[in-house]
């Protein structure tokens, strides 16, 4: 109906708008100019528009003038389309990609420090093995385990290890890259 000269009119009752909320987690991969204050501009935008960032990771890219910000947010709470349009208004934001879950590899790293008396160590090491994680530090009372994987995997590991006495946990937030040659 977008062609010229077609006689049929657009019926108003046929017009609809898509829902603003997608109901799922979104991973936004944002290329920004590597300039002072860029992160403050993005964080400030999220704060004043009431968008809640779940995780945020910032790092260099292969181009020293460009950094990549990977952030996750909940599409059940925030209209992602509005979020990306607001981000695009920032002059330092070069490109935003709303990563397709099926087409994306997303990973984060977490460090878990757990209480590990001698008699529990074998069990903890077994968990670590199952999750293909690494034990990176051992002291008399604790072990520290490095887990890499999807956010779901990190959360699953946390659920398993928590009953053993979780002393401290650190997560990086997800980073993501598209699958295949794209």
């Amino acid at each position: 109906m977008g062609e010229p000269g077609t006689p049929e009119l657009v019926k108003l009752e046929d017009l609809s708008v898509p829902g603003a909320l997608t109901g799922r987690k979104h991973v936004l991969s944002i290329l920004v100019e590597n300039k002072p204050g860029v992160l403050a501009r993005i964080a400030g935008l999220f704060a004043r528009r009431g968008f809640n960032i779940d995780t945020l990771a910032v790092g260099p890219t292969d181009d020293p003038n460009i950094s990549r910000i990977t952030l996750t947010l909940d599409g059940a709470v925030h209209p992602i389309d509005q979020v990306t349009k607001q981000l695009h208004k920032l002059v330092n934001v070069l490109k935003i990609r709303d990563m397709e879950p099926e087409e994306t590899i997303a990973r984060e790293m977490a460090l878990f420090k757990v209480t590990a008396a001698v008699e529990n160590r074998a069990e903890i090491m077994q968990f670590a093995e199952i999750f293909r994680s690494k034990i990176v530090d051992v002291s008399r009372r604790t072990m520290t385990i490095e887990v890499t994987g999807s956010a779901e995997k990190v959360e699953a590991f946390e659920r398993m290890i928590r009953p053993h006495g979780l002393v401290e946990m650190v997560r990086t937030g997800e980073i993501a890259i598209a699958r295949g040659g794209d």
């Binding site: 010229p4 603003a20 100019e33 509005q82 607001q86 695009h88």
Partner: protein, 558 residues
């Protein structure tokens, strides 16, 4: 060349002729460079007013307004003007001084993180870290401020860097910013769909805003509206972009709009929003806003589309480019305009049943009468700047603007005290036009020191002060919605405004009798230099009709 001199050359290369500002320690090099720069500098009396003057300049002329301030308090005084400019999309460039580079971050004397504190309010901002970047930043600042959806850009220049010696080369090349590419043309397929929806609408309304003014698209809007019997309403920011004397003008819409305009929105089956952003002053209760309508939303800023009200047919583009295409596509459909007759019968019915009106008086000056007198005295052709409050809404209702850029007010931020400084800017931009500041007494006292600027620089703005002894709009709300418990709204022992004007070296006049008002206004307009007319109006008049906050359009009162 000294970087501060390169700054002046860069500004001139952008076509700057006038600058509003105040010097201080951190921008001493800038003001030293100004001495030889062949630029007209208007020395305002408060940096906020320099900012508003730059806004008034931009709104009246369409050119970028420029204001200077020093670091620290000078810069923070600009913040209100910057916030005002972003809300109303005013193309402005603000150049602030900053403490020396080695002092940044040490809480140095007159240091303020102006870049950080204005992040929520700027379209973009730069802090100079290398003096060689100054010409490039100025060039980019003007590009960003004036293209796409216009807005304020801040350039913060540390004192030591503006004294550095640099190689200056004029920048006139087209700006190419990887992260800034406004789309202006409008997707032609979307435009065709919009034309076809419009052809099928039986109760359409054009809801237009400040974007039409910014795009200089008044002619194009009229062409589109005249391609059929389309009714047009506008926000307070859009007034004048469609002539108030046009037979299909419904009046302003929104909180203090006409019933005809608001009922039209309430009953419309298709609303064409052009350069308007569905502000809460327009929509009232969002869930009950225009419940029968589908929306075509044309805007230069994609983020405005579906922000508050979901658009069925979004069109991102500049009104000046999109509207002629929509007109052409619509005309090509050769629609029978007879289908709109029933709609017009309804609209005319509302217009006849609910005209704007007030109770006339022989004994006291009614505020609405004052606006009508102002219209007659200025022959409806002045540039009117306004403060914020009842007088602003009465002017919007009763002045009847027929041309764009004749109505300059603070619509989004609602900044009291905006009227006088923006009048200064408008008069500097358009010296041959009659510029009248319609002031409120609550507002004018906030920025009245700018009378000194008017006298000092010989800027003959005429101030018509609607003096009711109250912060009238707040009083009205306290009366209507807070059981008439007046709290801090009486202006009490106000200054003698006539003497105050005279103390500044301006002319003061007073009008108390409705019979003399128009004549006094004419005298003020004809007098040399700046004039303040203290117009004593009825104290407790309310501005009606109105949609109470959070109510729906159909529930207008008064």
């Amino acid at each position: 060349m000294r970087a501060a001199d390169a700054l002046m050359e860069s500004l001139k290369a952008e076509g700057v002729e006038h600058i509003f500002g105040i010097p201080g320690g951190a921008n001493l090099p800038t003001y030293d460079a100004l001495v030889d720069a062949d630029l007209d500098h208007i020395q305002v009396r408060h940096e906020q007013c320099g900012g508003h003057a730059a806004e008034g300049y931009a709104k009246a002329s369409g050119r970028v307004g420029v204001a200077f301030a020093t670091s620290g308090p000078g810069a923070t005084n600009l913040v209100t003007a910057i916030a005002d400019a972003v809300m109303d999309s005013v193309p402005t460039v603000f150049v602030t001084g900053q403490v020396r580079t080695e002092l940044i971050g040490t809480d140095g004397f007159q240091e303020a993180d102006i870049l950080g504190s204005t992040l929520p309010f700027v379209k973009h901002s730069f802090q100079v870290t290398d003096p060689r970047h100054i010409p490039e930043y100025i060039h980019e600042a003007f590009h960003v401020a004036s293209t796409g959806r216009p807005g304020p850009v801040l350039v913060d220049v540390p004192q030591d860097l503006s004294r550095a010696d640099i190689e200056y080369e004029p920048r006139t090349d087209p700006v190419d910013l990887a992260g800034y590419k406004p789309s202006t043309e409008g997707n032609i397929k979307q435009i065709r769909i919009a034309a076809k929806a419009l052809a099928n609408a039986s109760r359409p309304v054009f809801y237009t805003g400040g974007g039409v003014v910014n795009a200089n698209a008044s002619e194009e809007l009229r062409e589109l509206a005249n391609s059929d019997q389309f009714p047009v309403t506008s926000t307070v920011m859009g007034l004048g972009s469609f002539p108030a004397s046009h037979e299909r003008w419904l009046g302003m819409l929104g909180m203090h709009g006409t019933r005809a305009a608001n009922y039209a929105m309430d009953n419309a089956d298709l609303i064409v929003a052009i350069g308007a952003r569905f502000d809460d002053r327009i929509t009232g209760k969002l869930s009950e806003f225009a419940p029968r309508a589908k929306f075509i939303h044309i805007d230069i800023d994609p983020a405005e589309i579906s922000k508050n009200v979901p658009a069925h047919i979004p069109i991102v583009g500049d009104a000046k480019q999109v509207l002629p295409k929509l007109t052409r596509e619509y005309r090509a459909l050769q629609t029978d305009s007879g289908r709109l007759e029933a709609w017009w019968k309804q609209l005319r019915g509302w217009q006849q049943e609910y005209p704007l009106g007030y109770e006339a008086s022989d004994s006291e000056i009614k505020p609405q009468f004052m606006i009508e007198a102002m219209h007659r005295a200025t022959e409806g052709d002045a540039i009117i700047t306004s403060d914020v409050g009842q007088h602003q809404m009465w002017a919007a209702q009763y002045y009847g603007f027929d041309k764009p850029r004749r109505w300059i007010n603070s619509g989004g931020l609602g900044t009291m005290g905006f009227g006088l400084p923006s009048a200064i800017g408008a008069k500097v931009a358009c010296p041959d036009e009659q510029v009248v500041c319609l002031a409120g007494d609550g507002s004018l006292i906030m920025t009245c020191q700018e009378l000194a600027t008017c006298v000092h620089h010989g800027i003959p703005v005429k101030i018509f002060l609607m003096n009711n002894g109250y912060m009238g709009m707040v009083r009205q709300w306290q009366e209507l919605f807070w059981d008439r418990r007046y709290s801090a709204v009486e202006m009490g022992p106000s200054p003698d405004w006539v003497k105050l004007a005279e103390a500044f070296g301006a002319t003061g006049m007073r009008a108390e009798d409705p019979a003399d008002l128009e004549e006094t206004m004419r005298k003020a307009l004809e007098a040399e230099g700046p004039v303040l007319v203290d117009v004593r109006v009825s104290a407790e008049e309310n501005c009606f009709p109105m949609i109470p906050a959070g109510a729906a359009a159909r529930d207008m009162v008064g």
